[in-house]
Subunit: 343 residues, 4 copies
Amino acid sequence: MYSFKNDYSEGMHPRILNALAASNLEQTEGYGEDYYTQQAAELLKEKIGRTDIDIHLLVGGTQTNLTAISAFLRPHEAVVAASTGHVFTHETGAIEATGHKVIAVEVKDGKLKREHIEAVLEAHTDEHMVKPKMVYISNSTEVGSIYKKEEIKSLSQFCKKNKLLLYLDGARLGSALSSEENDMTLEDIGRLTDAFYIGGTKNGALMGEALVICQDNLKEDFRFHIKQKGALLAKGRFLGLQFRELFKDNLYFELSEHANKMAGLLQHAISKAGYAFLTHTPSNQIFPVFPNGVIEELQKKYSFHIWEKVDGDHSAIRLVTSWATEEAAVMNFIEDVQGMAEN
Amino acid sequence: MYSFKNDYSEGMHPRILNALAASNLEQTEGYGEDYYTQQAAELLKEKIGRTDIDIHLLVGGTQTNLTAISAFLRPHEAVVAASTGHVFTHETGAIEATGHKVIAVEVKDGKLKREHIEAVLEAHTDEHMVKPKMVYISNSTEVGSIYKKEEIKSLSQFCKKNKLLLYLDGARLGSALSSEENDMTLEDIGRLTDAFYIGGTKNGALMGEALVICQDNLKEDFRFHIKQKGALLAKGRFLGLQFRELFKDNLYFELSEHANKMAGLLQHAISKAGYAFLTHTPSNQIFPVFPNGVIEELQKKYSFHIWEKVDGDHSAIRLVTSWATEEAAVMNFIEDVQGMAEN
Amino acid sequence: MYSFKNDYSEGMHPRILNALAASNLEQTEGYGEDYYTQQAAELLKEKIGRTDIDIHLLVGGTQTNLTAISAFLRPHEAVVAASTGHVFTHETGAIEATGHKVIAVEVKDGKLKREHIEAVLEAHTDEHMVKPKMVYISNSTEVGSIYKKEEIKSLSQFCKKNKLLLYLDGARLGSALSSEENDMTLEDIGRLTDAFYIGGTKNGALMGEALVICQDNLKEDFRFHIKQKGALLAKGRFLGLQFRELFKDNLYFELSEHANKMAGLLQHAISKAGYAFLTHTPSNQIFPVFPNGVIEELQKKYSFHIWEKVDGDHSAIRLVTSWATEEAAVMNFIEDVQGMAEN
Amino acid sequence: MYSFKNDYSEGMHPRILNALAASNLEQTEGYGEDYYTQQAAELLKEKIGRTDIDIHLLVGGTQTNLTAISAFLRPHEAVVAASTGHVFTHETGAIEATGHKVIAVEVKDGKLKREHIEAVLEAHTDEHMVKPKMVYISNSTEVGSIYKKEEIKSLSQFCKKNKLLLYLDGARLGSALSSEENDMTLEDIGRLTDAFYIGGTKNGALMGEALVICQDNLKEDFRFHIKQKGALLAKGRFLGLQFRELFKDNLYFELSEHANKMAGLLQHAISKAGYAFLTHTPSNQIFPVFPNGVIEELQKKYSFHIWEKVDGDHSAIRLVTSWATEEAAVMNFIEDVQGMAEN
């Protein structure tokens, strides 16, 4: 049984494992005050092209989102997100648990646009309602789509004009920036957002997300918040080591390119076999629509999520690839799909 | 510069590193629903001697405390802790951030006694004050002392009688249960507390704490709370792997025995060299009192915390040993102290 | 300028003012432990037909909702509400500020139905999402509609079967139960919900809402929560006095009948003058649709909310009547509308 | 049975009752946007001698404290208070429920001094601990003492220098400023604190506290916080009316002068009868120490709190006077005490 269920089924990239092993018995400072973490921060600053930013390494995505958002907002301020946004649907109310409302805008393609936020601002007129203050976007989105530079630029300008914070959840930022359709760099994101995070867990790390705070007045005392939310890792150097390894050369993007390439192979073959997709996804998640019989057959050899019913006879499934996805497994899957299509 | 600063300066025990490496490229279920985590839970249940308990693996101590306490208490209920308790002093208000007051009782030796809690109950008489509901103890305590079985039993009975929950923070439980003065087992703790956790981070793991919920009505929906607090690790199997390795034989206690032994060597030698200790600590933390000049000399070769001023000329320092502490380093330290004592 | 803007523009009913005056210099116990509050509770128990319920008097609606909901739910549990529900739209995130998500279901008529909740339950499948636990309904709703007994019964059964709590916001319960279309009593509501509140502020009181807790296991320690949320009034006897006055005979319902009657007069006349309504509202709020020119004319003599644009030339306005609405003012308004219709 | 139990046993001052009655059937804007509230704010600004301050009227003291503190602080910031401070002991963890730790300093006389805060700052050194940010004082204090101008000045300077906020809980500010030993004015307090509130509930109002925000950057969006905490009164004009009445001439201070005078009579006579006091209290609360037998006798005719045991035979009681305390009752009490002393 081969899994296309998600991009965190395997462990860490071998180079990261080696890095952990190499430094394992060294003594370092705790809580991310070690030199590996410092080096990781410096490498990231270089890649982002700014020295006036703060980098904090946390363990997971939900943790990063809740720590950042609750540190950045005052109690009456709210987050605007797509209805598909991770903070709205898949974090067990983590943001609300810190006291903040998440205002969701219904979207099909996972992407927030200027007009969505405009509509939210218009509907929130006085102190009987929360005050929308942060715009939360994901890139790539939870449904596999990616933002173009022009789109983020437009959001960024709109946010600045309206004194909103723009926060980007980059759990799958590697895949987004490695997409064939991408026209952005880390530098662009560092210039256009107030804060964002670079996901490690879903792109080669054992665990770890690098939060980047670009806006000056969000920086103060951030480590207090990390500690308060239980997110300050005693052996923080292991987060530093991983990001150092991922960013000391181009490894991070090589891994996401592989993931995208594997998804591309699947997409192309499934398409050629005559099947449609729920939505256009130039990243490492694809959502083909199959007859239910085909799905049942595929489930005998592969594991994946059934995403949603399309009609009585068809459903969309989600296939996720990663840095660890084996080309041989992809080829097998393609063969199996083609075989079924012929029948 | 050798560090006696804490018990998380090094990485993980080599056997754990090997276990991570061995399974690294395997595909497993995410979020702790893998078989390694299941195996770890079964091993722990065996050691604790109960099958009717729930085991959850989390990443760190503050995270475990805040997740458990906020899940167990209603909004008006409070925690009673020693003034030295980690939740009161060293978690940046993590418990308060989830809405609960921590009521501290001034103690010298880190240990809560029945009469302390009685006094708190007497002082909290009506709905204008919080309702004390959970008793929080640490073993070993933050100042190196340990509880005797009779003491925990007495607390346990008192708590049951007064409908209080007894929660034990076991960040250094290995060291406590391996102490020469200890007369308890994991089984005792599983029988006498409502919930407790077994610390991995400070005893050989890269990271990880095993929360044990003994009391039935604290179990429901606990995984929701883990997720909500950002504490559900995507690659949770790595927590499972570590605890499996630590508990599949006696490794966990072998490691803490080593830590205690190293502390014992230091203690014996320092004592013999004519120095006193701040407090009696039969575990892996010791608090010798040195002349300030001696401390300055030692700081040239060793790093450690200066704990508190004793008088104008003397201070207590904290020396912490761990599974990774090298006997050679201990011997060097002893030699240096003896050398200074002779001058 | 006469105001139809809301049902809290005037002070309190003269009988209540007299009651306050009569007891003003008496000495009583503080914090609602006085005999007026006790009497009010007893009168309410009689009207509801149950002695096994708890009554608590609070100052306002948002305060009552946030105190009750945060006391009743565990941190991972969420509220299901209509998108028009007061807790979702008009309480500045008060519920989220206590840590709980409010899941909104889009409805036009303000009323939640069984199938709405079913859909929410189906969408919330595991611990990565909040756990829907409470169903929040308002009667009359925020858009003036009311529930029929059969509808609440159906919700009640569904909730019991699915272990959900049914909570009814009765800020305008008087108007609902006095509606010509109503077929329910306070007894029914006391039998069919787990908790509800009887609104005083919008029906003759200076301020005050009576929270009724019907379900046994929601009762414990509730006064702690009132105090913790800043909702325990020092001179609580004034809340008791008001509810005693409202319920010692039929005053409460006489007042809401008057409000409904005034709304009915407006509705009938506006309808006869040829204007439509946004929605059917058999209570004290009506939403007529007027040409914008008519609205401008009316604004010269009356104040009211413009509810929403209907098309380029028409808008719906909200007219609210209350126990204090003068029939003469209603007649003037009607005349003015008829006059404009004729032109 | 005459009550000296507290200063909120009676209703409101007759002039306030008349003011409520006079405007009762008027229509005004809701939620404190009426002209009575505006007038009250203007009167208060005049008395405080600043126009650049914001005034908000809330219902009660705990409500005011929790709304202000949670609005002013970021999640990792904490309050420093005397161990006798209302927020620490008598608000059911209201501040903690909004996420903030209250750090208590043990004091006998209810008063915080510079050195207390210095010690707290020294003990809070890094991000593993909360960050002390607000100093909370009460005047008069919960044990009846009052601050001298020099003391508040010293605290104010210390706070400014250390970027701390100084917040004054004025639940009994009238009594403090009317004390014979007082050397401060409302103007002083408006200049020396960052925010404070003027208590109405305990000095003639039915209910109500006037929060004064002096510091510019605490003002923004405060009404959102009032609404979110359930503290925005629909018929807010009744708060405005009360404060207008209290401050349109000198009524507020006349009332507190009466309260102090009554306490003074008691104090003088009890002292003359040979009894000591627990502590020096130049305000409307006194704490005489009586033999237990005397207390039992007094309890037959008067109600009051037994404050604490002094020794096996003696206890301190608390006697509280108010604007409504009758001189005849005071004389009776004095007679009774003198009678007992003679026996």
